[in-house]
């Protein structure tokens, strides 16, 4: 079902050979309710993988299980395994905090910290983890804002409050904030759903640029967006991974009937 080459799980042996994120028999329960059922997938590095599916299919939960954010729900329970470049992120001696430094996240609703300036927002992850070197902070700020395609627009007002930016700019600021800690994987939960078409376009262009250096997993309910910007697509339905493969194949020649029904708009 996953025609993914190099799906080995040797820890850190050969970066090109090890998948960025592998899940094996992953099931997640909130209380007694199974939100994800027996999901196994290999997500490739330096590519954009889109997660699609109708509401309630578990795609957001799957995304949040990669950086252990689903654990914020006190009734959450997990079975199975997730590995990040070969490392088991749920093993007993791994703190969620450590996982979250390796995996960045951008949310549906942009949420720059309101009491901080633009520059402070970008570096907050670094500073609160102990980085004090002003040179590093300054260079990382510029670097992240450039990668987020925001530098030119804000370089003259880095100390302005972050909330003075427009919605689309705020979202790119959140992307810069996530990139500043140099994560290995970037998770995006419907990052453009609250934005107008122009801002959405900018985000999509940004994603295509970023994939040269980052592994990106993006949840989207917008199938055209998935078709436009991703390399691989995973279709979830009612908590199960129905099909996973190159985007072009999923949208033009899917193997599973349910996938075909969804992408052609027969339901969802």
């Amino acid at each position: 079902m996953q025609p993914m080459p190099n799906a080995t799980v040797e820890p850190k042996s050969d970066p090109a050979k090890v998948a960025a994120v592998t899940a094996r028999s992953l099931s997640i329960f909130f209380g007694n309710h199974a939100v994800l059922k027996n999901v196994s997938i290999d997500i490739g590095a330096r590519a954009v993988t889109a997660i699609i599916g109708p509401s309630g299919c578990g795609k957001s939960t799957f995304l949040r299980s990669i950086n252990r954010m689903h654990e914020l729900n006190p009734d959450a329970r997990m079975e199975g395994e997730i590995r990040l470049f070969g490392d088991d992120i749920y093993s007993r001696d791994v703190e969620p905090v450590v996982v979250r430094r390796r995996v960045g996240m951008v949310f549906q609703k942009s949420n720059p910290f309101p009491t901080m300036s633009i520059a402070e927002n970008v570096t907050v992850g670094l500073r609160l983890n102990g980085e004090r070197n002003k040179k590093i902070l300054a260079s990382r700020t510029e670097e992240s804002l450039r990668m987020a395609a925001l530098w030119d627009e804000v370089k003259d007002r880095l100390h302005a409050p972050a909330i003075s930016l427009s919605g689309g700019q705020q979202q790119r600021l959140c992307i810069a904030r996530a990139l500043a800690v140099q994560p290995e994987v970037l998770l995006m939960d419907e990052p453009a759903s609250a934005l107008d078409p122009l801002a959405t376009q900018k985000i999509e262009d940004l994603i295509i640029e970023l994939k040269k250096d980052y592994t990106i997993v993006i949840v989207t309910h917008n199938m055209q967006q998935a078709a436009r910007s991703s390399d691989f697509t995973a279709f979830f339905y009612l908590g199960e991974l129905v099909e996973f493969g190159p985007t072009t194949r999923i949208f033009t020649n899917p193997v599973q009937k349910r996938t075909e029904d969804y992408v052609t708009g027969r339901f969802g």
């Binding site: 703190e95 450590v98 609160l128 983890n129 102990g130 980085e131």
Partner: protein, 311 residues
């Protein structure tokens, strides 16, 4: 860079610290109960149950009975509630349902300012403005027209149980009004819309959709007011006359549980005297804790998180 070990440690220490601070409320309530019980132990041993039913308050001969104060507290609180509850709920209804929009904020602000007036200042006004007016105008009027009732007979001095009741009413008006307001505001709009759709007038909507739905919460607001009335100290002390007697006339001076402690605690000369006052405090504590617990339960089970904690 902060390692995961130190951040884990930081999390545990911080959680432990905040937990300890939060648990302090349990320490506080146990502390009050314990200290008052401990302080009253001498009196309890000496007087037993008779303390609550004896009306003999005689510090000189070391005889102590709390009945006059229980009576005074109950009567002044009852008068206070009788006056305050209808006024407060009517005001809350006006503020949430019937008043023109531009008037609501300023009126609410006034009422919240009244809530901020300390008891002693109201008492000051009570001694020098309210009581003279009462003994000069209202009391004689009541005696003239309602003097056939034993309640309104007897000599008029000014400081009296009635004055105490009125001042309790003034003190509890803001809290009953503002809690009632929160309760009424939390009634879902759908209820009102359903009534409007039936062609009801504004008052009818209030009566049918809002008040009956909010009954339980409003009752909770009233009980909260009662709790406050029972413990009202300074303003009452300044206008009630401070005489430990049980008389039928509302114009006679009275004495409440809180007032006797306020007046006599620092003058208590003997251990028994002090202990008797502690026991009075214990009675007051027990009653207010029970009443407040009841009020909180009513408010919490009605309105949920929408109602602010009132103090």
């Amino acid at each position: 860079m902060g390692s995961s070990a130190t951040s884990h440690m930081g999390d545990r220490v911080f959680k432990g610290l905040t937990l300890a601070m939060a648990l302090s409320v349990f320490v506080l309530i146990i502390l009050i109960g314990f200290e008052l019980a401990h302080g009253s132990s001498t009196a309890i041993r000496q007087f037993g149950w008779r303390f609550l039913i004896s009306s003999d308050w005689d510090p000189v001969n070391e005889k102590f009975g709390a009945l006059p104060f229980i009576f005074g507290t109950l009567v002044s609180s009852a008068i206070g509630l009788l006056i305050a509850v209808p006024l407060s709920i009517a005001t809350a209804v006006y503020l949430t349902e019937l008043a023109p929009l531009w008037l609501r904020q300023p009126l609410t602000m006034f009422i919240e300012l009244l809530a901020a007036v300390p008891s002693v200042i109201l008492g000051l006004w009570g001694i020098f403005v309210m009581v003279p007016w009462l003994s000069g105008h209202l009391f004689p009027l009541l005696q003239k027209y309602l003097g056939f009732l034993p309640l309104f007979q007897g000599a008029i001095y000014g400081p009296s149980i009635f004055a105490g009741g009125i001042i309790v009413a003034i003190m509890i008006l803001p809290i009953i009004t503002s809690v009632s307001r929160e309760i009424l505001r939390s009634v879902p709009g759908l209820q009102r819309e359903a009534a409007y759709a039936l062609g009801a007038t504004r008052w009818e909507v209030t009566r049918i959709a809002v008040l009956s739905y909010a009954k339980k919460g409003l009752f909770g607001a009233v009980i909260l007011g009662l709790g406050r009335a029972l413990g009202e100290t300074m303003a009452v002390t300044m206008v009630i006359g401070n005489s430990p007697q049980i008389v039928k006339s509302l114009f006679a001076p009275g004495y409440t549980l809180a007032s006797v402690v306020a007046n006599e605690f620092s003058e208590a000369t003997t251990d028994t005297y002090l202990s008797a006052l502690f026991e009075i405090g214990l009675v007051l504590l027990g009653v207010t804790v029970l009443v407040n617990a009841l009020a909180q339960l009513l408010l919490k089970t009605f309105a949920g998180p929408g109602v602010k904690p009132q103090n």
